[in-house]
């Protein structure tokens, strides 16, 4: 891996100036490397992070046909990675004009990484730097503990898709509130109502007392109020502190919970495992937003490389070359989903509508179709609106909010279905639906969505860990359950139970009506479709899996 030449770097710097002038915000320092196929061989298993820890699975071709993208929140073949400074990778022999286009694309990605709130938790440190120190630590541990380090990595990776990414974000994006305000909330919302169970009259009196205190002194009023509370309820302070702890615990994901509560990991000789699990968790958290913003991120980058390239004065004469490459990247496929194409079109669509003020409440109130069409009351620049979208949304919100019938009609989008033509022995691809609701549902169904696994704290009481899969209409991959639970059991040190839902092939409902003695064949189709769900519980104890129906 070597840096790009000075000549190319100069082009990049020119791109940065132009992109910044157009409103993209990114840190000025970036690193660009030339990669060869050989480099890629080493980089791709490490998800393009050159300093990621070593792990033997990286050397093996991981089965990737089915569930590849369900397994990993990261795309191993990105051109640009979200580090400080951002690192991007280039082919050796790109012509200058192509580099200009790619640079704009990369800069828009960097802008997205550094401004989209889904990436909030990655803003304050450089992942490559951290990964390097983690890699060294793991190498050190490996020299002491041998292959057991790899087992710990393996088992931790087995649950790294269940990290509490959203609670991590929520922790960072919480509005600042003073400790006093939180105490106040606890006192009035919980303590008085649930702990003391005071009658309404007393409750109102307390509110009045609070207000009176504030009136007396806006600065020390609360202090005076709580001085009285502490005097009256000496237990309040400790209860309050306990509630804070409980609240923090409720937000723990499975990995955190194991780290904190596993007796096995707490043992002196196993303590080295904790940082390993921590590394796996941090790595997973780092990649989480990437897959959740694929359509937006690529759409945003395509939108900007188009806009900025066409304005760039340095590349005149290469418009046709550009058009060819650009169309290759962003053409809507006849069948299939191209995140570049879809995202870019959606951004264009939003910009146009926002420019006409069509995202205003006023517009939403209009019911007359012609008026809606004619509506054009600029409420500012469409692009400003785009920047807000870029800052606040992820793929789910982006699609759910902005994929509308107008958008579907404009780009003639449809849901393609596939059915078997038995006579000809082929799959027929056909236009299944042009309704935007179906289209949106289809898109949302394809987005990355790991299962929600909660810890049942009450049932976890007696040593065994009790996990509950919140069922969302899709069961878990059954053949993976055994080994995953085996790993959890290892880290937890005690039996592990998992409650989930599985399909039962139900007997057809109701007796088939028909003449007595006459055979009434059920149609094959109907038999197939009668799926019933039942709750089952898997128990992993001493590396043996048992299953019982609840």
């Amino acid at each position: 891996m070597e840096l790009i030449s000075q000549h190319t770097k100069k082009i990049m710097e020119g791109c940065k100036d132009r992109a910044a002038a157009a409103g993209l915000r990114f840190e000025k320092e970036t690193l660009e490397y030339i990669v060869t196929n050989r480099d890629l061989l080493e980089l791709t298993p490490k998800l393009m992070i050159p300093t990621l820890y070593d792990y033997w699975v990286h050397d093996v071709e991981v089965l990737k046909e089915k569930g590849r993208y369900e397994l990993y929140p990261s795309n191993p073949y990105e051109t640009v990675i979200n580090t400080r400074p951002a690192i991007s990778y280039y082919n050796d022999n790109n012509p200058d004009w192509l580099n200009v286009m790619i640079f704009y694309h990369v800069l828009a990605h960097i802008d997205f990484f550094q401004n989209n709130l889904c990436f909030r938790h990655t803003w304050d440190y450089d992942f490559t730097g951290q990964a390097l120190s983690d890699k060294r630590m793991i190498a050190q541990l490996r020299s002491e503990n041998g292959r057991w380090v790899d087992y710990v990595i393996e088992f931790a990776r087995g649950i790294d898709n269940l990290v509490g990414y959203h609670s991590e974000l929520s922790r960072l994006s919480r509005p600042l509130e003073s400790a006093r305000a939180r105490m106040l909330d606890y006192y009035f919302d919980h303590f008085l109502q649930n702990v003391r169970k005071v009658p309404t009259g007393t409750y109102i009196k307390e509110i009045e007392r609070y207000n009176a205190c504030l009136r007396q002194s806006s600065e020390h009023g609360e202090q005076a109020f709580f001085a009285e509370v502490f005097r009256k309820h000496p237990e309040f302070d400790s209860l309050y502190k306990k509630s804070l702890e409980a609240k923090a615990e409720r937000r723990q994901d499975l990995m955190q919970f194991i780290l904190e509560h596993s007796e096995f990991l707490a043992r002196e000789k196993n303590r080295w495992m904790k940082p390993v699990v921590e590394v796996v968790r941090k790595t997973s958290l780092f990649f989480q937003p990437q897959i959740r913003t694929k359509i937006m991120n690529e759409g945003w980058a395509s939108y900007w490389h188009e806009a900025l390239f066409l304005q760039d004065d340095r590349i005149s004469g290469h418009e046709v070359d550009f058009a060819r490459v650009h169309a290759g990247v962003t053409a809507m496929p006849r069948v299939g989903l191209n995140p570049y194409a879809l995202g870019m079109r959606l951004f264009h669509h939003i910009e146009e509508l926002a420019g006409k003020g069509k995202y205003s409440i006023e517009f939403r109130r209009l019911t007359d179709r012609r008026e809606r069409e004619r509506y054009d009351r600029p409420h500012g620049d469409g692009r400003d609106f785009l920047f807000k979208v870029r800052e606040n949304l992820n793929d789910f919100l982006f699609i759910n909010t902005f994929v509308e019938q107008d958008f579907a009609d404009r780009f003639r989008l449809f849901v393609a279905g596939r059915r078997l033509n038995q006579a000809r022995g082929v799959w027929e691809i056909y236009v299944k639906s042009r309704s935007v609701d179906d289209y949106r549902a289809m898109l949302l169904g394809l987005l990355y969505h790991p299962p929600a696994i909660d810890i049942d704290r009450e049932k976890t009481g007696n040593g065994s860990l009790y996990l509950v899969h919140r069922f969302e209409g899709r069961p878990l991959v059954r053949e993976f359950i055994a080994n995953t639970l085996l790993g959890i059991e290892f880290l937890w040190g005690r039996p592990v139970q998992l409650e989930t839902s599985e399909a039962v092939r139900a007997e057809p409902a109701g007796p088939p009506s028909g003449l007595p003695g006459m055979h009434m064949p059920l149609s094959e189709e109907r038999r197939e479709k009668e799926l019933k769900w039942q709750r089952v519980r898997y128990t992993m104890q001493d590396r043996k899996l048992t299953r019982d129906v609840l």
Partner: protein, 462 residues
């Protein structure tokens, strides 16, 4: 297969007495029709622009889309060194009480234009708790699309890959791919031997010359060469000088007075040496009768690929193979491709294949030069239900073969009932009598890969 001969055979069998069940089975195969022959090449153009159906949204990435850099995956052969390590690790896993994680011998077929090839990769799965998207298979899959077309209009077609025509499933291999298969097969054999601890072959002591040479400095040459042989040269010079009368006193030789002719210098030169090594000849016999349709054929051939690979490794690529297909008659086919891909049809007469093997061995006098292995894959149906024709041939075969392995992929439908071949082979007592030479493995036709390998161990273990 000329039907007339089949009918004649049936008539003969009937005369010998058939139970109704046996007759029904024979009828079923006869009436199933069909013909052997290679499957038609797969369609390469599945319709305009619909290939991307089902392509994952997340499969698009910048390096490829923008810069045309393909996703890199190191090939198995590049990894073969680390493979040893991986397999060692896998063995340790078992010791530590965890299940093994590395799968090998998976045969995948990249490419869609019929240029498919056998590729062997070590694979693994990182197991996590995941949503099972395939469980929605009762629903029709749907994907995105754009452009013209009314609802319900068919806009393209895809070949049904999931349900390939019978007999064609698996590693079909295009033209010019045979070399690739060999080197890959060697690797696979190595992996199989090491990972599954398949037994190593004993040296049978039957060393036959091969047309293979190693080069060594063994031959002598006068006048010039690579390395001077001092002792021989000195002796030569002495001899010459004696003849010339240049040595007056044999007891007091003065080397400084020697006359040295160029011819006297003796050199050692590189020369080819014949090498001796055991070599193997493997007969693969496949039942391609109508009843073999579906999984039983896939199973049998998959196992044969692995056995082939294993022998390839054991004999350092010195393996010759002969492929024989049989229904009621047997024929030899020239290559693995034909062997693999020929479609199933017709009736079953196991003895035909055994007879053919015996004939070939005799005609070409193969037993002198080779370790001979015969592997036979069948579903166990045989019109010759008591083995009266097969068994004598089998006996003949056992006289020269190093190992005969019979794989029976039993159909689900004969769950409880033992198949004909199974019955008469075990009835004959040959399995005990020649336990070293004859092995039989019976599995259900839905057996998985570990079971297959277990079967191989059974067939080839000492």
């Amino acid at each position: 297969m000329p039907l007339l001969e089949d009918e004649k055979l049936v008539a003969r069998l009937k005369a010998a007495g058939l139970t109704p069940a046996q007759e029904a089975m024979i009828r079923r195969e006869l009436e199933a029709g069909g013909s052997h022959g290679l499957p038609a090449p797969e369609r390469t153009d599945p319709g305009a622009g619909v290939e991307a159906f089902g392509r994952d949204l997340y499969a698009y990435h910048d390096l490829n889309v923008l810069q045309g850099l393909a996703a890199m995956q190191s090939s198995a052969s590049a990894n073969i060194r680390s493979l040893d390590e991986l397999l060692g690790r896998d063995r340790l896993r078992e010791q530590d009480g965890f299940p093994r994680k590395i799968n090998v011998g998976r045969l995948i077929k990249p490419g869609r234009s019929g240029k498919e090839k056998v590729v062997i990769v070590p694979t693994t799965v990182e197991e996590k708790l995941l949503h099972d998207t395939s469980s929605r298979s009762e629903e029709e899959p749907s994907h995105g699309g754009s452009g013209e077309g009314e609802e319900g209009e068919v806009i393209g077609e895809q070949p049904v890959r999931e349900e390939p025509p019978p007999g064609a499933a698996g590693p079909g291999q295009g033209e010019g791919g045979s070399h690739e298969t060999e080197s890959n097969a060697y690797d696979l054999g190595r992996i199989l031997t090491e990972k599954f601890q398949l037994p190593n072959l004993k040296d049978k002591g039957k060393k036959r010359s091969l047309t293979r040479y190693t080069y060594d400095l063994t031959d002598r040459h006068r006048g010039f060469g690579q390395l001077i042989d001092k002792k021989a040269t000195l002796r030569r010079i002495l001899e010459t000088n004696l003849h010339l009368g240049n040595i007056p006193d044999v007891n007091r030789i003065d080397p400084t007075r020697f006359l040295v002719a160029p011819e006297d210098k003796v050199y050692r030169v590189l020369s080819p040496e014949k090498d001796y090594e055991s070599q193997a000849l493997v007969f693969f016999l496949r039942d391609y009768s109508g009843s073999m349709e579906g999984p039983s054929t896939v199973l049998v051939v998959a196992q044969h690929v692995m056995i082939y690979s294993w022998l390839m490794y054991q004999y350092a690529m010195q393996v010759e193979t002969r492929f024989i297909l049989h229904d009621t008659q047997a024929k030899e086919v020239p290559d693995f491709y034909t062997y693999y891909n020929s479609k199933v049809a017709g009736g079953t007469q196991v003895s035909s294949a055994y007879t053919l093997v015996n004939e070939i061995v005799e005609r070409e006098n193969l037993r002198r030069d080779y370790n001979i292995y015969v592997f036979h894959g069948t579903d166990g149906d045989d019109w010759d239900h008591d083995g009266s024709e097969s068994l004598p041939q089998l006996r003949r075969m056992l006289a020269y073969a190093n190992r005969v392995g019979i794989t029976i992929a039993r159909h689900g439908r004969d769950e409880d009932q033992r198949t004909e071949v199974e019955k008469y082979v075990s009835g004959s007592g040959l399995l005990e009598e020649k336990a070293k030479l004859l092995r039989m493995d019976v599995m259900r036709e839905d057996a998985d890969e570990p079971r297959l390998i277990e079967g191989i161990r059974k067939l080839i273990a000492d």
